[in-house]
Amino acid sequence: MRSPRSRRVAAAAAAVPAATMVTVLTNSPPAAAHGSMSDPPSRVYVCKNEGPESPDSAACKAAVAVAGTQAFYDWNEVSLLEAGGRHREIIPDGQLCSAGRAKYRGLDLQRTDWPAKRVSPGTFTLTYHATAPHSNSNFEFYITRAGWAPSMPLRWSDLVHLRTFVNQNPTTFTQWTINLPQRTGRHLLYSIWQRVVGSAEAFYTCSDVDFGGGTTTPPPTSPPTPPPTSPPPTSPPPTTPPPTTPPPTTPPSGGTWAAGTAYSVGATVSYNGISYVCLQAHTAIAGWEPPNTPALWRTA
C-alpha cells in the first residue's frame, strides 16, 4: 500500500505545472518545526500512540469525548505561531496543556488518571520527538510545584523552572538531561519549544509523571470520570468550560448592526452610516460585519 504521503505528493505534483514549481523552488524554505515530548510522553503523545479512534486509557477516552479526535492526529502541533516568548501573556491559566487552543482543549482535563511515567528525583533524561526539527531553538523545562495535584488547574504560577537550553539544534529525537527535584505523587513536566530564528512559533507539552508515595493517585478500580468503556458521546463531561455566549436577539429592522443579533433574510441594518440588506439568515459575529461579508449582506 502506498503511503499517504507519496499519494499526496503525486497528486500535488500532477496539479502544478512544472514551470511554476521551478519558480517557487528557488525560494523554497527549509523544514518547518513540529513535535512533542515523547519521554516522558506528553498527554497528546500518549493519546496519539493509543490511537485517536480507539484510545485505551480513561483519560484519553475522555479527551476524545470532550474535544474529538483531531487533536491527536495533529499531535505535533500544540503550538502558537505568534508566541515569540510571550507565553504567559497569551496562554490563560488552566489552559497551559492546550496552549489555549480550542482544538486541544481535551489536554487540559483535570484528571488524576492521565497515564504517568514513574520518575525519581535527581538526574533525569528526557526525549523530545520533533517530526520537523528546526535549528536554533530554545527548550525550557518546568515541573509543577510541591503541593500541586492533577485535579487542579495548571497555572503559570504552578510551574517551577528546571532548566533552559538555548540555541539548540534538535534532531528527530533529541535528549536533554535535567535534575528533577523532590516531589511526591503526580506532577506535570512542562516544556516550551520556542523557535528563535525565522518564526515566533512555540510548542508546548504536558507530560504526566509520578514520583510515588502520593495520595493523589486514585485506586485503579474507581476512575473519577466517565467509565472507560463507554464515555457518553452525546453529553459533555463536567470539565467542559462553561458557555459564555448570550442567546441571539432579534432586533427591530433598520437598527445598527450588532454582533450577537440574529438577522433574517431581508433585514436591514446600518453600519458605519451605510445601509445593508441581509441576504442570508445568520447570527452576527465579530468579523462578519456587513462590508466584510458580501455573501451575507448587500448595500441597500
Partner: protein, 193 residues
C-alpha cells in the same frame, strides 16, 4: 484507515501550517524577493495559497451537516460559514491572479512538509457514518479544530504579511473563526440537541 484520515486532515494541520510558518520565516516581515516593491510579500502569497484549500475543505465539512440531525442554530451557522467561505475563496483566488501567483503552493513545498492532501474523503465518510446521536458533537469538534487552524494561519499573516487587503482579511478570519469557536463551544457545553 488512520493513515488516510491523517493524510486528509494534515491539510488543516501539519502541512499547511508548516509551510506558512517557514515561508513567513523566509519573508520575515521585511519584503524581499520577487514580490518586493509591489506591496505584497511571500507571507501574503503563502497565506492565500494555504487558505484557499483550507477554506475549500471547510466548505466540504460544513456541507456534511446538511440533512443531518443538528440543532437549527448549528444549521444556520454552518450555512453562513459555507457562503462566506466560498465568497472568500473567490476573493483570495482573484487576489492571487492579480499577483500572477499560482492558486496553490508548489508541489515541492507541500512535499517537503507532508504533502498536499488530495482528499478528505476518509474523514468526511467517517463523520457521515456517525450515528445520529453522535453526529452533531463530532461535527462541531471537527469544525472547531478546523477553524482553530484557520486562526493560526491568520495570525501568521497578521504577524508577517504586508498587503493591507490580505492583512485585513486575516484579521477578519481570526475574529470570525474565533467567534464561531466560542459559539460552538457554548453549544457543546449546553448539552446535546
Amino acid at each position: 484507515m488512520r493513515a488516510m484520515r491523517y493524510a486528509a486532515w494534515a491539510l488543516a494541520g501539519a502541512g499547511v501550517l508548516a509551510l506558512l510558518l517557514v515561508q513567513c520565516g523566509a519573508a520575515g516581515g521585511s519584503p524581499a524577493g520577487p514580490a518586493a516593491g509591489r506591496g505584497f510579500n511571500a507571507t501574503d502569497v503563502m497565506f492565500l495559497q494555504m487558505m484557499v484549500p483550507h477554506q475549500g475543505q471547510g466548505v466540504r465539512l460544513v456541507r456534511m451537516a446538511r440533512g443531518r440531525p443538528v440543532r437549527p442554530e448549528v444549521a444556520t451557522l454552518t450555512a453562513a460559514i459555507e457562503t462566506t467561505q466560498l465568497s472568500e475563496i473567490q476573493s483570495m483566488t482573484a487576489r492571487l491572479r492579480v499577483w500572477k501567483r499560482p492558486r496553490a503552493a508548489s508541489a515541492h513545498e507541500h512535499a517537503a512538509h507532508g504533502g498536499m492532501p488530495r482528499t478528505t474523503e476518509a474523514e468526511l465518510e467517517a463523520l457521515a457514518r456517525a450515528p445520529a446521536g453522535r453526529f452533531e458533537r463530532e461535527f462541531l469538534n471537527l469544525l472547531i479544530a478546523h477553524q482553530d487552524d484557520a486562526v493560526q494561519l491568520a495570525r501568521m499573516e497578521t504577524g508577517g504579511g504586508r498587503d493591507p487587503w490580505t492583512r485585513r482579511l486575516a484579521v477578519n478570519v481570526d475574529r470570525s473563526r474565533s467567534a464561531q469557536i466560542t459559539q460552538m463551544l457554548a453549544w457543546l457545553a449546553a448539552g446535546p440537541r
